[in-house]
Amino acid sequence: MTTVAAKPATMAQALTRALRDAMADDPAVHVLGEDVGTLGGVFRITDGLAAEFGEDRCADTPLAEAGILGAAVGMAMYGLRPVVEMQFDAFAYPAFEQLASHVAKMRNRTRGTLPLPLTIRIPYGGGIGGVEHHSDSSEAYYMATPGLHVVTPATVADAYGLLRAAIASDDPVVFLEPKRLYWSKDSWNPERPSPVEPIGRAVVRRSGRSATLLTYGPSVAVCMEAAEAARAEGWDLEVVDLRSLVPFDDETVCASVRRTGRAVVVHEAHAFGGPGGEIAARVTERCFHHLEAPVLRVAGFDVPYPPPMLERHHLPGVDRILDAVGRLQWEAES
């Protein structure tokens, strides 16, 4: 991620750059959604695209999520590579039928003759003080729908690399953008953007020996912080950034857990029926004999996303992660 000319850049800038480069490289790439044209999207991720590529390539649509996604299906059927923006996590629900019944299934129901190369960008998650319906973590719904890829970056470089990969993918990709990381900075060289990151690979962000924190998206930074704080307790935590929830990188995850013998899954989405249950089950099935303790989950509470003044109690923070690590019943090492 660091090159000589690297300067601090935000995740938002990297996403914009990824869209721009994808559109410049391939005239089939079209962006559509609510307010994506003149305004550049409410988070300005599509800023400048309409000016550079015209309003046909970066189109403001009527305000209708099922219509946007449904139209994108037809566009993909005719050879385009639509990139759809859903304005906020909870406003993607009207499009869910298109997603579940058509986007996820078109390749399968047509025996591979109508693949849908489309990307659905969804700003998701909390931590920015958004009002109701602006902070949902809906990844479990998408993960539970075979036929979709589900990815989420945690770094500026991955934001670029994964979005390029999503747009290049011949399958539909739900691209979840952690909105509280939009303005997070990293050194990144926009003149030589990070390489396209293949979908489906987790990465070890920090290596350690005591336990593995399995996490993704907005929680990666929190886990990194927790890992630093854990040193005071004598714990040396490994942090794995999953990056891709579907497909899931069992290999990297299991290699880590087998090394450390202990694992905690950390995410903002609620625990019951959430992504952590699936991840914990996979790890248990594969690493049972290496585990010194049950796989624990640190997640949002099983409540509808709370009002902003209470969200700090809901979101998994450093202390809650460290508590869970403490509950891993240490004896052998410390």
Binding site: D56, T61, P62, A66, Y78, P94, G112, L114, P247, E285
Partner: protein, 397 residues
């Protein structure tokens, strides 16, 4: 001053960007559905077209009968017959050029085969061997859509994409009267009108959504009236008058191809059979009603005109009937063959590249199949338990 009194005086200036694009009056459908057969206008109808429509309608009706029979023999899980609606089905297929696309609903098998899809492949969905039996790209026919109205935005997107690429392709999308209540219907029409996409929406108003009559579906004066609110023309046509349906749809297609944007066509027709073979229509409608519609049968209407013009020769009748019988016999014979399926196909088309998770599951199924095959060749042994180790668990250390 009360608010009511104020109202007349208060007229804000609309924001500058807003200009009504269309005068609603020309968009309104006529009060009476467009008819040709049985009127003087029929005299102008092209004899070749009349005979072609007739032959196709006869074949379509025979197909409906044959497919319904196949449900009784257990060869099809279910069949939604379009008997009585053949005129809409056939006209929908015939007005399209080869490069155009058709977006059918589950009831529109006849339109699909009239577009050249193999009759057996068109039934794959209903037989249950795969979801879509044909290659949509080859025939430019989207998969038969089971969720109501969800195919309509696809038609809009495809037509829009074609136009952006400079192709004069039109999409014709079919939906039932019940489907017009779905949100996707609204979103599709609105998108199409805003984008001026070359789409023709054909509503087959056959009176019922399963058991629910139109009166409980909408309070609009007609379904065609809905078009006006979107800023596109609405046309009302007698859906049992094949010539009229063909005329109205051909007009709408021409209009779309010329850059005039979308049209909503409502065809008034009737579902003579039950919703599907699994439905009991006597619970929600009387025989009288069905009888009235049987007297307004699309094939009979066409035959009257052909007879009047001396075109319904014995040869023509025999030819149409023989074609239909040959098609039915072929369908029967091929549908009575057992479908040959490869269970490994389960994993073939989920993603371009199977995920590691799918590869594991594929290995598991392959092992189960191998064990099954082994058990079959050595019938005396075995508990029937497959040897496939659950690929998802870790072996002992």
């Amino acid at each position: 001053m009360t608010v009511m009194e104020q109202r007349g005086a208060y007229r804000p200036t609309p924001p500058p960007a807003w200009q009504p694009r269309t005068d609603p009056a020309p968009l309104l459908p006529d009060a009476e559905p467009h008819r040709v057969l049985g009127t003087e206008a029929a005299a102008g109808a092209d004899p070749a077209l009349l005979l072609r429509l007739h032959a196709e309608l006869v074949k379509g009706r025979r197909y409906n009968a044959q497919a319904t029979a196949l449900t009784k023999q257990g060869r099809l899980a279910v069949y939604p017959s379009s008997t009585g609606q053949e005129a809409c089905e056939i006209a929908a297929a015939l007005v399209l050029a080869e490069r155009d696309w058709l977006f059918p609903s589950y009831r529109d098998t006849l339109a699909v085969i009239a577009r050249g899809v193999d009759p057996v492949e068109a039934l794959t969905l209903l037989r249950g061997d795969w979801h879509t039996g044909y290659d949509p790209r080859e025939h430019r026919v989207a998969p038969l859509s089971t969720p109501l109205a969800t195919q309509l935005p696809h038609a809009v997107g495809l037509a829009h994409a074609a136009r952006l690429q400079g192709d004069d392709v039109v999409a014709l999308a079919m939906v039932g009267d019940g489907g017009t209540s779905e949100g996707d219907f609204h979103e599709a029409l609105n998108f199409a009108a805003v984008w001026q996409a070359p789409v023709v929406f054909l509503v087959q108003n056959n009176g019922f959504a399963i058991s629910v009559p139109l009166a409980k579906q909408t309070a609009a004066p007609s379904l065609a009236h809905k078009a006006v609110g979107y800023g596109m023309p609405g046309r009302l046509v007698d859906g049992n008058d094949a010539v009229a349906v063909h005329e109205v749809l051909a007009d709408a297609v021409r209009h779309a191809r010329a850059g005039g944007g979308p049209t909503l066509v409502e065809a008034l027709t009737y579902r003579v059979d039950a919703h599907t073979n699994a439905d009991d229509a006597t619970r929600y409608r009387g025989d009288d009603e069905v009888e009235t519609w049987r007297r307004h049968d699309p094939i009979a209407l066409l035959e009257e005109e052909l007879t009047r013009r001396g075109l319904l020769t014995e040869d023509a009748v025999r030819g149409a009937r023989e074609d239909a019988e040959a098609m039915a016999a072929d369908l029967r014979a091929r549908m009575n063959e057992d479908a040959r399926l490869d269970p490994m196909d389960l994993f073939a088309h989920v993603y371009a590249e199977p995920t590691p998770q799918l590869r594991e599951q594929r290995d598991l199924l392959r092992a189960e199949l191998a064990a099954e095959a082994e058990a079959e060749t050595a019938p005396t042994t075995g508990t029937g338990r497959t040897t496939g180790t659950a690929a998802s668990t870790e072996g002992p250390r």
